[in-house]
């Protein structure tokens, strides 16, 4: 089987700071990838390159066999991006915003408005469809963002902390949604800090630290390799420079 996404020797530098130091990944269709790593590791940068937000990078990226540099627009139509609590043009209403997104995805008007109504209803936002989003809570905004990323039924879905701000019920809805999408054969690339969710949802976990990949495999494989029981502990082992409980000790000692 051909990989649907290939990252080859991906490098990215901001000024003098090298954020990505050679990322090589092959992602196969239908996989659910949990992309984890500490803050500043390069997760968001990788994701932004894939989505077309960052266009100057070194290395090669192939999506569905097409080189990202040459077929940027075509590739964008097969990718759905759900950013984390991103800025929105919140003087608009969900209907206005999502209709515009639908236009940008070249969707037919009837298909778009039908889908928008259905998705907002599923998220419980049908009464707010004509309210300006600047009155929305964090969770409501995140639901709009999720809707905007899935609206055009993309084959590849890239999510950056998609559960941020959601209440427990909404988290369940989204987790179920991701499983169902995976079962339909969609490829899902999921960045998160929430280890318990990543553990349960992903087929394959890729751990990035300091711009390079330090672990790659299913949860079972990582457990065998690292000999630990939870992803949280595996993560800590591979990324924490100093002992974390020592840091907690220092905090307590500040009171003595």
């Amino acid at each position: 089987m051909e990989p649907i996404i290939t990252l080859k020797n991906l490098h990215k530098r901001y000024g003098t700071k090298q954020v990505l130091k050679g990322i090589d990944i092959d992602i196969y269709p239908g996989q659910v990838i949990g992309y984890i790593g500490p803050n500043g590791a390069g997760k968001s940068t990788t994701v932004k390159i894939l989505c077309g937000l960052i266009t100057d990078y070194e290395g090669q990226v192939y999506v569905k066999g097409m080189n990202l540099r040459d077929h940027l627009v075509e590739i964008k139509s097969c990718i759905g991006y759900v950013p984390e609590l991103a800025e929105l043009y919140d003087v608009l209403t969900p209907l206005e915003f999502l209709s515009m997104m639908a236009e940008l995805y070249n969707m037919k008007k009837e298909v778009a408005s039908d889908r928008i109504n259905k998705m907002l209803k599923a998220f419980g936002l049908e009464t707010n469809i004509n309210d300006r989003m600047d009155t929305f809570s964090k969770g409501m905004r995140q639901k709009i963002l999720i809707t905007s990323g899935l609206l055009h039924n993309p084959d590849i879905i890239i999510l950056d902390e998609p559960l941020s701000g959601l209440d427990a019920n909404s988290v369940i809805i989204v987790k179920e949604l991701l499983s169902k999408l995976a079962r339909e054969g969609k490829t899902i690339f999921y960045c998160s800090h929430m280890m318990d969710v990543v553990e349960k949802v992903s087929d394959r976990i890729i751990l990035i630290d300091g711009g390079t990949i330090v672990a790659d495999g299913s949860f079972k494989e990582l457990k065998e390799k690292q000999g630990d029981t939870s992803l949280e502990k595996i993560f800590a082992n591979l990324t924490a420079k100093d002992s974390l409980s020592a840091a907690a000790d220092e905090l307590i000692n500040a009171f003595n």
Partner: protein
């Protein structure tokens, strides 16, 4: 914290025994005030915000800037001493300036600086008593006002010392103090009234409009005052002889000064003194007693916090009349991305506070400029226009060719937005022709800011001059559109609402080029004015050219556009 703040802080904190007796914790008071003053120093003031210029350097000497500005304003107020025969008149005008300017400065500062809702979750959860908190607020207001007022009255004090004597200063200081209190509580009452009438959500919008009106009034004044100064009418002007002047608060202050200095002992002047003392005192009492509690509560809901979602929901449910804009969008744009961009830009322009604050004053500026220019033409008369004489033609062309000033103001702002990162949607979606997004937004700006004006111009000129003017008017308007299209092609290379606010040297250049172009085209138009057939043909050509240029804009590819996602 700079020296001025420290001095004022020390002064404000000096009656510490009094505060302690009231039950205030002076240690907390000092630390809260120090923090607030430090923050004030790092925040650009109202004037610096209203001005078009904006540099990205962090402001840390805002206090000094404010004081210098106030001093300059105070200097300008001295112009009032040139008018009128008696000091009563001069001071009435002086205090009118004073109260108006102080009010306009405070009106914005109140919400931003003086009543900071962040106190609700930073200070209040800590063990700070209510009394300490209220006193800290009052003293903060006091210090803030001092920083504005003291430099402002300095020129007048110096003037009085030179032209009168030292004795005149004391009554002046007293009366100014009363006038300041009056203004502070005037603003307070305006706030309270607005809050009682509308929801907190609309509050910001209303304050914005008031600021815009002030900006226009100042601009008009700035243009008018130098012209009036020379006129002899002004020096013979005498207010105290007019009936009903007693109803003007600024006259009370002037009269009170006259009484306390000159000791004329006239009934009317004594009334002034009484009013000067009583009205501010009474308003303070009323505000504290009746309005303060509900005022604070409502004020905390203003910044769009979701403390009371039901109030906000009502505001959000406003019916957006979109039929007009969707009609226009169907008229001017093709299906797809261009139309979506048209509607997007249209809505953003109407709903974004910052955009309106920067662009709407241009309406006022335009009116002021046009009126002044028409008045300057000594031989101006409507007959000239109606019969389209040479002078009339000049006026007509001036009106037509200046009508796109507002549009240019809008185009200059259209690429900027405080939440510019929201533009990620343009970069993650499969947009083949970003040029369409730009052309859609330019068309929206033209539809919103130029067409209503053009319509009014056409109709009024038709009424004045009859149908013979049609070819020329059409020619003029299509030239205006052409100039706009060319300017857009040359200058706007960013997507709408996608960049941070910045001083756009590119846009200044663009406006400059556009003005030169407009002038040249107007000159050519002037020469060709009477050749109806030529003008008609050229009008059609000009319209076609406009369409072509806009079409070229819509074909711009990603490579040609100077736009990439701004990632910090």
């Amino acid at each position: 914290m700079n020296i001025i703040n420290s001095i004022l802080l020390r002064f404000a904190l000096s009656p510490s025994f009094l505060y302690k007796r009231m039950g205030v914790d002076t240690r907390h008071l000092k630390v809260i005030l120090s923090a607030k003053l430090m923050m004030d120093d790092r925040r650009p003031n109202t004037f610096q915000q209203i001005q078009r210029k904006k540099n990205n350097k962090p402001v840390s000497y805002a206090t000094i800037g404010t004081m210098i500005l106030s001093a300059v304003m105070g200097l300008v107020f001295l112009a009032s001493f040139l008018a009128g025969k008696t000091y009563e008149t001069k001071f009435t005008i002086y205090f009118s300036f004073y109260v108006t300017v102080l009010a306009s400065i405070l009106i914005a500062d109140f919400t931003n600086v003086l009543i900071d809702i962040r106190d609700n979750y930073i200070i209040l959860p800590k063990p700070v008593t209510d009394k300490t908190f209220v006193v800290s607020r009052l003293l903060h207001i006091f210090i803030h006002v001092c920083k504005i007022v003291i430099p402002m009255i300095l020129p007048a004090v110096v003037f009085l010392m030179i032209n009168k004597n030292i004795l005149s200063i004391l009554p002046f200081l007293f009366v100014t103090l009363m006038a300041t209190l009056f203004t502070v509580f005037l603003i307070n009452s305006i706030y309270i009234i607005i809050l009682k009438i509308t929801t907190p959500a609309r509050f910001q919008a209303i304050i914005t409009y008031i600021q815009i009106i002030f900006a226009i009034v100042f601009y008009a004044g700035y243009q008018l005052v130098p012209r009036l100064i020379g006129s002899s009418f002004l020096s013979k002007f005498e207010l105290s002889e007019r009936k009903g002047i007693i109803f003007l608060p600024t006259y009370w202050f002037a009269g009170a000064w006259q009484q306390l200095y000159g000791w004329n002992n006239s009934f009317r002047l004594w009334i002034c003194v009484i009013l000067t003392i009583a009205v501010p005192a009474f308003s303070i009492w009323v505000v504290i007693k009746y309005f303060a509690p509900s005022f604070n509560r409502k004020l905390s809901m203003i910044s769009g916090s979701d403390l009371d979602i039901s109030i906000n929901k009502k505001a959000a449910h406003k019916k957006t009349s979109s039929t007009y804009s969707s009609l226009l969008s169907k008229l001017f744009t093709g299906q797809g991305v261009e139309r979506a961009s048209f509607l997007f830009t249209w809505k953003m322009m109407i709903r974004t506070r910052n955009f309106k604050m920067k662009v709407y004053p241009a309406i006022g500026y335009m009116i002021v400029i046009m009126v002044l220019m028409l008045l300057q033409n000594k031989t101006f008369s409507f007959n000239d226009i109606a019969s389209q004489t040479k002078a009339g033609i000049t006026s007509i062309l001036m009106i037509i060719y200046f009508s796109n000033l507002l549009l240019f103001a809008a185009l200059g702002q259209i690429t900027m937005y405080e939440k510019y990162k929201a533009a990620w949607i343009f970069f993650t979606t499969p947009v083949n022709n970003p040029g369409k997004i730009i052309s859609g937004s330019v068309k929206a700006a033209i539809a919103q800011f130029f067409f209503p004006l053009a319509f009014i111009t056409v109709v009024s000129l038709l009424i004045f001059c009859g149908p013979t003017i049609i070819p020329n008017v059409l020619f003029g308007i299509s030239n205006e559109l052409l100039i706009t299209a060319i300017a857009a092609y040359l200058g706007i290379s960013k997507l709408p609402f996608s960049s941070p606010q910045q001083n756009n040297t590119g846009s200044v250049l663009r406006v400059f080029v556009a003005m030169i172009l407009a002038f040249l085209i107007a000159a050519v138009h002037f020469m060709l004015y009477r050749m109806t057939i030529v003008v008609s043909i050229l009008a059609i050509l000009s319209l076609t050219a406009t369409w072509l240029v806009l079409d070229t804009v819509s074909r711009l590819s990603w490579k040609k556009i100077n736009s990439s996602y701004v990632d910090e």
